[in-house]
Symmetry: C2
Subunit: 409 residues, 2 copies
């Protein structure tokens, strides 16, 4: 067995890029992404996600960024960090993971190691490895090649929890000490603290329940938020009162978006349903978070209709903040974006501002990065830093403001 | 308006007794409870709930404990701490609160103050005060007498969060400074830290959502617990892995009982339903926590049937721990008790041990306080301190053990 460590990272998005950046400090590493646009920008040291500094994208020691799968040919460690979104009807979409396995299968050699970081339901990494890798290569997992699982804990926009200082689960099932140490060695170069598990399924489950717990806690707040609005009770006051209890958890109401929270609950419920197990709390959380989007949409619609009726003119609306959460460029599953697009379908004079959103998406969705304050209604669905100032200016100009979650009141 | 402060506490259970103990240190106070058995024990300085020390039940300065409503006649501050449980179909049972108002209505004088501490749904304290007090006395709330609300935060068995050192919400709606100061003065003698609110409804809501949040978080763990059992995954390992994420909340699976968690969600959902508002997460939490009870019951039943079949004799079963949680005497809504009683209906040789449960209930439900270890199956549903030793002894004797939540493994 070779001592050589030649890793590649498959998928250079929010998850893969930081892994690649960490690995290439120590090893000759290949960063592979199927998107030519993504790798072209990255080669120019530009991360449009705005998470990685240009200086960290400097390549040396033969490391490369590529969209050509031939470049992973000589690698012997494949780290898969591809998206695992949903298809219609909330079904897990494992297409990218399958594609990654397919690419690897072309070059898989004896004793190669594959580590999956993508979020999946318990059992999926192995299931698909069997289906794709073993079938194509006639090599056996756990004997000829080795599968490990290390769920990502990337939190876009969070500078305190960077990959190098955030504890990471690493599930290794083989008893082959040599292989085990090799995987450990690689992952120790990625992060300072590892939590070792001997079960891939347990690690897969742990990952999804972390996000499910957060999704559900926000959902409860959203449930109470809607209740308060309908009952004419002050939600913010109530949270402040409850917050004086020693064990009250300070979640708040808000639109839940991004690649994890709106997705992972359905991964778990998918496999649960397949096994005739119900997960009531998990699905209730999703249902409520979805409902909040419609609730907010209707509130805005009514405000616009009110304005139009009272003023006998079309309300000029600006939504400030379109990405999925505070101070990030990420628009994946952004409910603010959905609300914006839905309003555009129903009304004229609907505009959006987001200084964090990247160029490509700003162009795609017609999102402004600066404005003049000539609007009739300003809406704040995401708590971007710059919104505070904007809120104040608009308030001084007596523009109508809608800040449903009370970010600036 | 008189300066005199002569309080009474109506209801001397888990909530009222500590309030009475605090007040009587400073004021001549009447402690009233409709249960003659309760007041008789308390007069003998015996709190069967095992929460208050005998020395704290010493009476002086004219304070008294009584079951005679005539004794509250001269009081001018009524603090209501009566139970607010559920009727059939999860409907709030406000009978005791209504009775307390009825008793007060007989003696209510101008400028009297009523503070409700019982948990209710938003609007209930006022609604019922209108219905009972105003109607009977012709006095007007907020003008002739004053209603305040201060939700209890008593946590049975918790020595760290005693009434005197635990922040307490106090909702006062009157602008009458004199009355306001009087209420404040009284409550400052009860606890060191007050959170003042100017809305009774907001304080009522805050109280129920505190417990709902806890109920739901345990429910999520119970949902995952059942999922893991059915999928043959190790729940405890998974929690340990997830627990390494910086923001994972360390709840665990378990039977949820007591007077608050299994009750309060239905108070909120009751008023929500009345207003055509759905509270999906809240009800999903209840549903799952209820489901867990049946899940555990079935696991035990199968174990007994297995034993009987294999050994051709009736399994002798001991359930150790019957109260609603660790190290408390409280059996209200205890699922362990329900499971025990349900097993007794279905099998012979079912025994229970609980050293914390009070004498009266031990007698009522035939619960032992000491045992000889001659059982075939030992079951641990509640994590009482003494269970650890018992588990070890039984393990040495090779008695079959069932510890579904992994308290002692």
């Amino acid at each position: 067995m070779t001592n050589k460590i030649f890793p590649c990272v498959i998928g250079l998005g929010y998850v893969g890029l930081p892994v690649f950046v960490r690995l290439k400090k120590k090893y000759k590493t290949v960063g592979f992404d199927t998107s030519l646009s993504r790798t072209t920008f990255l080669k120019k040291k530009k991360d449009l996600n705005n998470e990685i500094n240009p200086k960290d994208l400097h390549l040396f020691n033969g490391s490369k960024i590529t969209s050509n799968p031939e470049n992973i040919k000589e690698c012997n460690i494949y780290i898969i960090t591809v998206p695992t979104p949903l298809k219609n009807k909330h079904i897990p979409d494992l297409k990218c993971l399958e594609q990654a396995y397919q690419s690897i299968s072309k070059f898989l050699k004896k004793n190669d190691i594959i580590v999956v970081e993508s979020t999946v339901y318990p059992g999926a990494s192995k299931e698909l490895a069997k289906k794709v890798l073993e079938k194509k290569t006639k090599l056996k997992s756990g004997k000829d090649f080795y599968l490990a699982y290390s769920p990502e804990r990337i939190n876009p926009g969070d500078k305190n929890h960077q990959i190098q200082n955030t504890e990471k689960i690493l599930a290794i099932e083989t008893n082959n000490v040599y292989v085990k140490n090799k995987i450990l060695k690689i992952y120790k170069s990625i992060t300072s603290k590892l939590k070792i598990s001997n079960s891939i399924e347990e690690a897969e489950t742990a990952k999804v329940i972390e996000n499910i717990q957060r999704d559900l806690n926000i959902a409860l707040m959203n449930d109470i938020f809607i209740f308060c609005k309908r009952m004419n009770l002050n939600f913010k006051n109530i949270l402040e009162l409850a917050g004086t209890k020693w064990n009250f958890l300070k979640f708040s109401a808000g639109l839940v978006g991004g690649h994890c929270l709106p997705v992972d609950p359905y991964y778990l419920s998918y496999i649960a349903k397949k096994n005739n197990i119900s997960l009531e709390t998990v699905l209730a959380g999703r249902s409520v978070n979805h409902k909040l989007k419609n609730f907010i949409f209707k509130q805005i619609r009514n405000k616009i209709l009110d304005f139009n009726r009272k003023n006998k003119k079309k309300c000029r609306v600006l939504i400030s903040g379109i990405t999925y959460k505070k101070n990030v460029a990420d628009i994946r599953n952004s409910y603010a974006l959905e609300i914006y697009l839905n309003l555009k379908k129903n009304f004229k004079n609907i505009y959006a501002l987001d200084k964090y959103c990247d160029k490509l998406n700003r162009k795609k969705f017609n999102i402004l990065d600066k404005i003049k304050l000539n609007y009739d209604l300003l809406i704040f669905l995401v708590d971007h830093n710059y919104n505070k100032k904007l809120y104040k200016s608009a308030h001084l100009k007596k523009i109508e403001l809608f800040d449903p979650f009370g970010y600036y009141q």
